[in-house]
Point group: C2
Chain length 358, copies 2
């Protein structure tokens, strides 16, 4: 988190990407400008057309000095990348993953909050609410570069993938989650599989619990990933902050998006908590080529991600206003088809804007 | 699947294990004897007290020649192992995992079927049903012995875990799942994460699709594990057979148990499909020390597992009768507390027996 500095513009690198990524970005920038103008916050946008479309034109997802260009920005807003025909490993290793790693965005913060006006697919017990945050380790773990194949094309062929967990990597993720749990007050659930089957997870547990000694007020409880996934469905109300490795966090946050009723509204912050590097904010949803071009993409995931950016910039009041306008829009029933409504992307964004200015 | 042979008894090694494992086993054996007597099927039970309790007495989960003893049996019925104070790696590597691997039980078959009389925690759309099967690879993948730690106790400490996928291992799991999908007719969903982040999963995909060429009638669709978990909640009715690696299958089947309303009734078959070695049947639930000794454990997971054993023995009619008696019991509302009822373990088992004999 950085302290606000009213004296200069905040430079934001804007990468709409592909498909619906390009449709949800413009309305989000309008909203940021509106809320910014009320909070003495000015933005300088750096637009980048980096995408799969860019790749098919140039053979690269972004220019060779793309990361250097991004390093000049204060923050990054990403829409979504991915397009049929461009292999995932190109679009991901060519843009998303290098950004997450180069800028040490080692925290992927994903709120799982059932919004008013949205029905969960779960039959919740009376008074049960879904409102927690998943802190996903975002740089190492199961997503390592180490691995490969041998004896290609023969019956003896095999593939290996190394999971790599470092003390520094686990400790900083645990510390971030513990601080958040300390401020929220509801305890920390740690996702694991420590029954001695997977060698890395007892190490994860040990580092989490060692780090937790600095937070005597936080109750930490370990859950096996299989049981934890079941509890997201059976008893989501019990969670406040969940900390998870890269892959476990990936699974848990899609499951989290499901139980709050739509992948179209879930946001995600790839954070470099120290602020040495830009952080990146993106919706959880992808480029959705199936609905691209129809003007019906839900902009709320991108808008919620922008509200997380405001929080990260230290403008929590502005962030809260955007989120309140999102809630008011949902309560008013202005919803895109993924939420059962009939509104267009523009109508939803206009409703958010209208709620901001009233 | 083996063809029935009426001329001899079926030898079943019985390992109740710990906690509620010991409470649900006896009623299950009574039910097997009853249904067996109606189908010309006789059982010889080989009782083993191998467990964490055995470990605290002897320092071993099972005797040194335990696997040799089990190899004499036709099939294995397992309750649950695990007890506070005995580390998981002892109870698992000392019994469950060596059995799964030594006897090449490379398929873990887990039906995910919403039973009549049970309410799903999901708000299902009208007419939507949950009735699919997860085929989990059970011998390799993310659960490999390869891995460890370096620089213990220093700031540089790290842990690694190797995932190992072999062509033979993936191919035989895929083939089993494809055969099942072919007979059920509803297509195959393959759990993956093949976007080039995890090296092993593109290999998994390739072997699954190569194997699928032998099954032109089966529609195979890949799903990323994160999206797949979300779809178990958002649209479970679309699945018929799901094939997954060891860890992905572990997560998906607990999630599957959650959406069918209780981990207490979900069963699991650890299959050696060729019948060279005994297969092992167990409930998905654990030893549940918190409710052990109260006589309220749900026996239906163990009973359903026994019905899967009957199927595997080639006695599908007997297996179907047991399952029908389980359904009748649930419809009659005879349920243990985990399902919202007030019946005891014995009352539920007696109701199943009564439905069998009428
Ligand atoms: C696209 C993919 C590499 C990515 C991930 O697994 O991290 C996505 O699923 C996410 O959660 O941001
Ligand atoms: C106890 C544990 C090792 C086991 C597994 O992960 O295989 C269990 O969760 C299961 O699903 O049978």
């Amino acid at each position: 988190m950085q302290s606000p500095d009213a004296s200069r513009k905040v430079t934001v690198a804007v990468i709409p990407g592909d498909g619906i990524g390009t449709e949800v970005m413009d309305p989000t920038l309008r909203i940021l400008e509106e809320v910014g103008s009320r909070h003495g916050l000015q933005f300088a946008w750096q637009h980048h057309d980096w995408s799969c479309e860019h790749y098919t034109r140039t053979g690269r997802m972004m220019p060779e000095d793309g990361l250097d260009q991004l390093a000049q920005a204060d923050q990054i807003l990403l829409g979504a990348v991915g397009y049929p025909g461009v292999p995932d490993h190109v679009s991901l290793w060519g843009l998303l993953i290098p950004i997450r790693r180069t800028f040490r965005q080692y925290i992927n913060l994903r709120p799982v909050k059932l919004m008013p006006g949205i029905e969960s697919p779960l039959r919740l017990r009376d008074g049960q609410d879904i409102d927690f945050v998943v802190v996903r380790e975002n740089n190492e773990g199961e997503y390592s570069e180490v691995g490969g194949r041998m004896y290609r094309g023969t019956p003896e062929e095999f593939a290996v993938q190394e999971s790599v967990f470092t003390r520094r990597g686990v400790e900083r993720a645990a510390r971030y989650a513990l601080e958040l749990a300390d401020s929220r007050g509801g305890g920390l659930a740690s996702a694991t599989k420590s029954n001695g089957i997977v060698h890395t997870m007892p190490f994860w547990d040990q580092v989490v619990h060692e780090t937790a000694k600095d937070f005597p007020g936080v109750h930490v409880r370990d859950y096996h990933i299989d049981a934890l996934s079941a509890l997201f469905v059976l008893d989501p109300g019990r969670f406040d902050v969940v900390v998870a490795s890269n892959l476990f966090g990936d699974i848990l946050t899609d499951l989290g998006a499901a139980i709050i009723g739509s992948i179209g509204i879930a946001p995600s912050g790839n954070l470099n908590p120290e602020g040495e590097f830009p952080s990146m904010f993106e919706p959880v949803h992808g480029s959705a080529p199936d609905i691209a071009g129809q003007g019906i993409a839900n902009p709320l995931g991108q808008i919620w991600a922008a509200s997380m950016m405001l929080d990260h910039l230290g403008h929590e009041r502005a962030g809260a206003e955007v989120l309140a306008a999102v809630e008011a829009t949902l309560v008013a029933g202005v919803k895109t088809p993924d939420l059962g409504g009939t509104a267009t992307t523009t109508e939803v964004a206009d409703a958010v804007l209208a709620h901001l200015t009233t």
